[in-house]
């Protein structure tokens, strides 16, 4: 009988890929991070408690590998100078974002989050984008829940200060 961890892990593959891209902001590092996280999660799967969230457990592994093993600057081989350029992950043009004003607003939101200090950006990614609870975010980041809340509040104040003048024109209800 195959354990439930191995059955469920592939369901988190895309979520881990997106989180890796957002952690590293770089496709090549994201590929490296994803494969290391996968292998380590499988190796350590006996430590996972089935009653707890597998998503937060594997995200915690990925965050730990990023912070402890990969975040330090290093040399790597590139195939061409074009690979030197930072990828521009644009906003897709679909029915949600066909309005150029909405697309611009989304870009401004992403820019505001990405401009935060790294500790605050990380909490915003987990709570604001991934939808983790404060407790789950605390587990992923290995920090107290109070620290998650204070970082989130500081991040929100910083973002809100930039968006205060937008509020009349762009309520979140427009996108619901």
């Amino acid at each position: 009988m195959v354990d439930s961890f191995l059955r469920e892990l592939p369901a988190h593959q895309m979520g881990l890929w997106k989180f890796a891209l957002r952690l590293t902001r770089n496709q090549h590092d994201a590929e490296d991070l994803l494969q290391r996280s996968y292998v380590r999660a499988i190796e350590k799967r006996s430590q996972w408690q089935p009653a707890t969230s597998m998503k937060s457990w594997v995200f915690a592994i990925m965050h730990s590998i990023w912070v402890n093993d990969l975040q330090h600057p290093r040399l790597r081989l590139v195939e061409s100078l074009e690979q030197m350029d930072v990828p521009d992950w644009d906003i897709a043009s679909d029915e949600t974002t066909h309005n150029p004003e909405h697309r611009l607003h989304f870009k401004q939101i992403i820019l505001a989050v990405e401009s935060l200090p790294e500790a605050q950006r990380m909490v915003m990614l987990l709570v604001g984008i991934e939808g983790f609870s404060y407790q789950e975010a605390a587990e992923v980041l290995s920090i107290p829940i109070g620290t998650v809340m204070s970082r989130l509040a500081r991040a929100r104040v910083a973002i809100g200060s930039q968006f205060a003048h937008h509020q009349q024109n762009h309520s979140s209800a427009q996108y619901a």
């Binding site: 593959q13 090549h28 494969q35 290093r74 992950w89 968006f163 979140s172």
Partner: protein
């Protein structure tokens, strides 16, 4: 009760007790700073998830997805083998799985990156990229550069592309008179900076490399300075906003001698006719 931005966020989220809400209401009315902070928090209620969902992220490469799926299949297979074979010792099984896991990720090609190991050992006098280059070089063995040398035209072409991007002339030294044969030229990346690596193999089988990075903020020239990083010898210098380092497993004095020959232009240059 201390009222700060965390309290105000809990207030907006409806997480406070009625008594705490009353205290916050009272404080907001008396404190303009708290009022401004509350306004910012209200303005920060934005469609974050929708904005990020609309982002066009790179697709997960199919080859990587297949490797990850294979790692799961290998683990499942190992587990089933274990259940069938009750006399198999756990250590052996673990080794079997680890081998399978390593095999599963070993063929990823461009997805495999080299570890820097530069954390505590960087020194104030050396650029970070040079320490990283030494770390990269420390993993070279004679086998890394074994086999046929890259075609001269390809080596010069890569060098030319790097030079064009830097806006500075960069040449490939011919070090055969010093016992080093050119093997290949390749581009590396350190943070968002391009690094040109010109790799050589000595007649005794030692790997060596001349690495170059464009440093537009550092126009002053610097003479050759030697240092050991990660067990390999480095000799760096700077000229015309380009920083160079000659790295090898040679002795410190021989490493310095080659670096001085390159930096003083005593070593001839490789041309398209070589």
């Amino acid at each position: 009760m201390k009222i700060d931005e965390t309290t105000l966020l809990a207030y907006l989220d409806g997480q406070l007790s009625p008594e705490d809400v009353r205290q916050v209401d009272q404080a907001i009315n008396q404190d303009d700073h708290l009022k401004t902070t509350l306004q910012a928090l209200r303005a920060s209620a934005l469609p974050y998830q929708q904005a990020y969902s609309a982002q066009k992220l790179p697709a997960l490469p199919q080859a990587l997805a297949a490797q990850l799926d294979q790692a799961v299949i290998n683990a499942q297979q190992t587990q089933e083998d274990l259940q069938r074979s009750t006399d198999q010792p756990p250590a052996s099984t673990r080794r079997h799985w680890l081998q399978a896991a390593v095999a599963a990720v070993a063929g990823l090609g461009v997805g495999i990156y080299l570890q820097p190991m530069i954390m505590g050992s960087a020194t104030e006098s050396s650029s970070d990229w040079i320490v990283a280059a030494a770390s990269y070089h420390a993993m070279y063995t004679p086998e890394t550069l074994a086999g046929d040398a890259q075609a001269t035209a390809a080596s010069l072409s890569t060098t030319q592309k790097f030079a064009q991007r830097a806006g500075k002339p960069v040449k490939v030294p011919d070090l055969s008179g010093y016992g080093w044969q050119l093997k290949r030229v390749q581009l590396l990346k350190f943070r968002e900076q391009a690094v040109l690596q010109i790799a050589y193999l000595s007649s005794s089988g030692l790997p060596g490399a001349l690495c170059v990075a464009h440093q537009p903020q550092a126009s002053a020239s610097e003479r050759v300075q030697s240092k050991q990083h990660h067990g390999v010898q480095t000799a760096k210098w700077r000229a015309d906003s380009l920083e160079y380092v000659w790295i090898s497993d040679d002795t410190a004095s021989d490493n310095l001698r080659v670096a001085q020959a390159i930096s003083s232009h005593q070593a001839p240059l490789i041309s398209a006719l070589s």
